[in-house]
């Protein structure tokens, strides 16, 4: 009796879920596919070390939980919490600057029970804050709004670049900039911003760390130092090129197996994938990424309010930055910047924070404007 009653309630819940699902199934399936590809590649790149796959699987599980939790929080609540969330993130960044630890750079904060990188928080908090601010403004934004948004982005991006973590700083800045772009900032203002950025580049060069400058120099001419800093780029290109159209096959990539590839489970996992699965695999993976980005923008376009729209769009477009910077790096198209290949590279914090972001997307999707 009781069990039947329970079953009744369960089916009722399931029906309501089906009528108005909390998650966007196509997006979820695409994410699962990329994650699976990641685990398969990691097993090979990690030299058939099962513990790497288990660890990464556990992080996906954690990310999945975060995704479900976030999808349950309505965007209006998120919007109300945004300034606090952002403020806490910035305070933690300052804290990490003072007491953080990490080899050669201050990225980690040790909270005794867990060690984490506050910069990961800002990947979400920054676009949230920009969206929160623009939500209350009349769009398209004017110069004054532009200035305020520049400050909102500049504080965390500057603090993270100071750590020094150029890759994350770039991602944080981009996520905020995308929200601004999507809010309809006029093209000539965008042009003006790009002009200022171009003019500031030589100044930025002055502030880069020596190892970062070397990476840029090597990108310009990797052959100039084939045994030193250019080594990563050359070995990665060889791995990719040797993969050919069909690839060498799973766990057949000599570049990775003989350890010519550096960081072959983290930043350079895409090279391993390209070597073993070839152009066909690469195009499939890129297609999956394009689908995820497109779906995210579609969800954004159907969102209920300005805040949700800007946030969802920014999350989707930021995902592109990961793919482009990492793919560009391993093919020698862009300088070496430590950005992981999303959901494939080994490493917990980025997987969890990415999936949390997609949880926000799911929530925005669930609370979309049906009336429209």
């Amino acid at each position: 009796m009781i069990s039947a009653l329970r079953l009744d309630r369960l089916t009722a819940m399931a029906k309501s879920q089906l009528r108005r699902p909390r998650v966007d199934l196509p997006l979820l399936i695409a994410l699962l596919l990329v994650g699976s590809i990641g685990l398969v590649t990691l097993y090979s790149a990690g030299d058939k070390d099962a513990s790497i796959v288990f660890n990464q699987g556990a992080r996906f599980l954690m990310g999945g939980i975060a995704l479900v939790v976030m999808s349950r929080i309505p965007p209006s609540s998120l919007r109300n919490w945004t300034p606090w969330f952002y403020a806490v993130g910035v305070v933690l960044l300052v804290l990490v600057e003072l007491v953080g630890e990490g080899r050669g750079s201050n990225r980690w904060l040790d909270l005794k029970f867990v060690r984490f990188q506050p910069s990961e928080l800002l990947k979400l908090a920054t676009p949230m804050m920009v969206a929160w601010y623009l939500h209350a403004r009349r769009l398209p934004p004017d110069w004054r709004d532009l200035l305020v948004v520049a400050v909102i982005i500049g504080i965390p991006a500057g603090l993270i670049a100071e750590q020094p973590d150029l890759g994350t700083s770039l991602l944080v800045a981009a996520s905020g900039a995308f929200a601004l772009f999507l809010s309809g900032l006029s093209w000539w203002r965008i042009g003006g911003l790009l002009g200022v950025a171009a003019a500031a580049a030589p100044v930025a060069w002055h502030f880069l760390h020596e190892y970062q400058r070397n990476r840029v120099r090597m990108f310009m001419d990797p052959e100039s130092d084939p045994l030193g800093n250019g080594w990563h780029i050359i070995q990665s290109e060889i791995a990719v090129g040797a993969g050919g159209v069909f690839g060498k096959g799973w766990h057949q990539g000599s570049q990775s197996r003989l350890e010519f590839l550096p960081e072959h489970t983290t930043d350079f996992v895409f090279s391993v994938f390209s070597e073993e699965f070839g152009l066909i695999g690469v195009l499939l993976l890129i297609a999956l990424y394009v689908f995820i980005i497109g779906r995210s923008l579609w969800i954004a376009a159907n969102a209920k309010d300005t805040y949700s729209r800007l946030l969802a769009g920014s999350i989707g477009m930021s995902f592109f930055v990961y793919v482009m910077v990492n793919g560009g790096m391993i093919t020698g198209l862009l300088p070496v910047v430590g950005v992981p290949l999303p959901l494939v590279s080994y490493g917990g914090t980025s997987a969890v924070s990415l999936l949390t972001g997609f949880g926000v997307l799911m929530s925005i999707h669930a609370h979309r404007n049906f009336a429209r």
Binding site: V240, L279, G313
Partner: protein, 642 residues
């Protein structure tokens, strides 16, 4: 800027604007990823053949060759730290599938401690898989032979010859030279991984640590051809490593040896400096420890013994030991009093056995019951009359006293080239306020005048101050490194001697008078060290000191029932010959009844060893120089450095 038309937001327009932007954004993204895809096509299709060839030819790897660590010599070329050939066991992570099973089997052949295994596993994390990682150092011949027979069972594990650090003089230089030990996690945190690729040991204490950069050298690389499994086939070419620099210390091993022997194992410390250039000639801390124990990981038993010993052999007393200076402070006070115009050269004081601050009942005693009578500065130094310095301190006040004594380096690190130096305490009103948040009392000024109370000095500091006094107020920064040498065929390059500033003593007759007092200490009829220095073949200037180990007013330690040696520390400072000082010395005996009886005789022996060595006791200079080709003997070191 257009004026706001309405606060209501035009929602429909905004949505349309967003959707246009999202579309444009998506198109840009597709184009960018299209470029990325095109790049993949370019690499994987157009240039595919080229990269296949390059991947096949990719059979060359770089293997780091660690540099030989620089050797350490004394000023005459006596070897203090050597590299000797030994064998170690190494394992290459990428060639070992099941680490735990392999280690279990390996333990049956070659004994491995749990610590060896733990350390190996820690190091596996940090480095690339194809770099081999040491598993155990200093294999015995038996172990090497036993492993050679079983080698086929352990692919990826090899016996590798290497150079290990040894310290031929053992405990004698344990504190000064220090030791190297295996690189641990804490070292890895701020280590240049490329420079230390292949390096297993790093300087942990003493000179080994302070001059790690000079001693380490630059690693070389060899290009190695590997087969399809990653195993090295042959070496193609190599860039040789640049060995670390050889260091020549200013220490004279003979004086060091003599000085250490004088202590007969009783805890204490002595530092001898050449006041003409700041070179440290001997730096002894007793008891010491054998640095060789640490090189390949000290055993728990040995380490416990060192740490739990009540005599604390690991404590570098000369550098961080804290002592009350006692009466050794009086010459410096004497200079301060004359130079500040508080006392004229011939001013006298009447010592009646007890000194009182006007209006206070508490008495401050002289060491001789009934007092010393009417005495001037010279006699006050010779007999160590407290009353002279009680009244001088009271007139001077604590702040003027400490600011003048700071010129002798008290209360600050001497800057000697060793890490972790203590800075001692030079009390002042401000210091006490910051430390205890209490006001300064005049009585504290009085006892500060004889080096009691809050005063704390380290032996290095006291020796440094004595050297400055010996050099008539000129300060040569004290140092241990005398010269460096890049390889044995290279010339020895002396370190530039930092020039001193001008003397801070304005009127040199003041200095002369203090010197006369110090000479009276060792040569005058009433001198406290006169008996110790009877028949000395040179004229020295010195001062004894006896400091209470425990504050007499404090009740934390019951001093009743302890004999004098347990209650006191004996100190002695000296420089000689008095006309042209070649040696300045500070000496502390931790359990000494008085400076006069216990410290001064030892000081005499150290001065004798340097200034008037008995002919038979002098080892032939250069006899111990085994590692130096004759043409490499440094010019400065070839002649006995006196």
């Amino acid at each position: 800027m257009s004026p706001r038309r309405s606060e209501l937001k035009d929602s429909g327009r905004e949505v349309a604007l967003f959707q246009r932007r999202a579309l444009v954004g998506f198109l840009i993204i597709v184009v960018c990823l299209g470029v990325l895809a095109a790049r993949f096509v370019h690499l994987q299709v157009v240039r595919h053949d080229e990269f296949v060839t390059r991947a096949d030819q990719n059979r060359i790897k770089l293997r780091p060759i660690p540099p030989a660590r620089g050797l350490i010599f004394d000023r005459n070329g006596v070897l203090l730290a050597d590299n000797t050939a030994a064998f170690r066991l190494e394992a290459t992570p990428e060639q070992i599938k099941n680490v735990d099973a392999m280690l279990e089997r390996l333990r049956e052949v070659v004994p491995l401690t749990d610590e060896d295994i733990k350390r190996y596993k820690e190091q596996r994390k940090g480095r690339r898989g194809f770099n081999s990682i040491p598993l155990r150092f200093r294999l015995s011949e038996d172990e090497v032979a036993k492993f050679a027979v079983n080698r086929w069972r352990f692919p990826g594990v090899e016996v590798v010859p290497y150079l290990t650090r040894t310290y031929p003089r053992g405990a004698e230089f344990g504190h000064v030279v220090g030791y190297v030990a295996r690189i641990d996690e804490a070292d890895l945190r701020d280590l240049d991984v490329t420079r230390y690729a292949g390096t297993t040991h790093i300087g942990k204490t003493g000179i080994e640590r302070y001059y790690e950069k000079l001693l380490h050298g630059e690693p070389g690389y060899e290009r190695v051809e590997i087969n399809a499994d990653g195993r090295a086939l042959r070496v193609l070419d190599s860039t040789p490593p640049k060995p670390g620099k050889n260091l020549y210390l200013s220490i004279d091993a003979r004086l060091q040896e003599a000085t250490e022997a004088i202590f007969e194992g009783k805890p204490g410390s002595a530092v001898a400096i050449d006041p003409r250039n700041g070179e440290v000639l001997a730096m002894v801390s007793v008891p010491s420890f054998d640095p060789n124990l640490f090189v390949n990981g000290i055993s728990h038993v040995d380490y416990r013994a060192l740490v739990t010993s009540p005599l604390r052999p690991l404590l570098h007393r000369a550098l961080v030991g804290t002592y009350k200076p006692g009466s050794t402070m009086k010459p410096f006070m004497g200079v301060a009093g004359l130079e500040q115009g508080l006392r004229r050269l011939d001013d006298t004081v009447l010592s009646v056995g007890e000194f009182h601050i006007p209006g206070q009942s508490r008495g401050y005693r002289d060491w001789r019951r009934g007092g010393h009578g009417r005495v001037d500065l010279v006699e006050s130094l010779a007999q160590s009359v407290n009353t002279y310095f009680y009244s001088l301190a009271l007139d001077m006040g604590i702040d003027r006293m400490s600011s003048y004594l700071a010129k002798f380096g008290f209360g600050a690190r001497s800057g000697i080239d060793l890490a972790g130096e203590g800075s001692g305490i030079l009390p002042s009103k401000e210091w006490k306020r910051a430390m205890y948040n209490k006001p300064w009392f005049p009585g504290e000024t009085v006892i500060a005048g004889i080096g009691q109370g809050y005063w704390v000095v380290t032996p290095v500091q006291l020796a440094n101050a004595t050297a400055i006094l010996a050099a008539r107020g000129r300060h040569y920064p004290i140092h241990l490194l005398r010269a460096t040498q890049s390889g044995f065929s290279a010339p020895v390059e002396p370190m530039p001697v930092a020039p001193s500033g001008p003397s801070f003593i304005v009127n040199m007759t003041n200095w002369d008078r203090v010197r006369d007092g110090m000479v009276a200490v060792v040569a005058g009829p009433t001198g406290t060290a006169a008996r110790a220095f009877a028949d000395a073949p040179y004229v020295a200037a010195g001062k004894t000191g006896t400091a209470q180990r425990f504050s007499r007013t404090g009740n934390e330690v019951d001093t009743h029932g302890l004999d004098a040696a347990q209650r006191h520390q004996a100190l002695f400072i000296a420089f000689a010959p008095v006309d042209e000082p070649k040696l300045a010395l500070a000496l502390v005996m931790e359990y000494g009844a008085s400076g006069s009886l216990d410290a001064a005789p030892l000081g005499r022996k150290i001065l004798d060893a340097w200034l008037a060595p008995p002919p038979s006791a002098v080892p032939v200079p250069g006899a111990a120089v085994l590692r130096m080709p004759p043409n490499a003997v440094p010019a400065q070191a070839a002649e006995p450095a006196r």
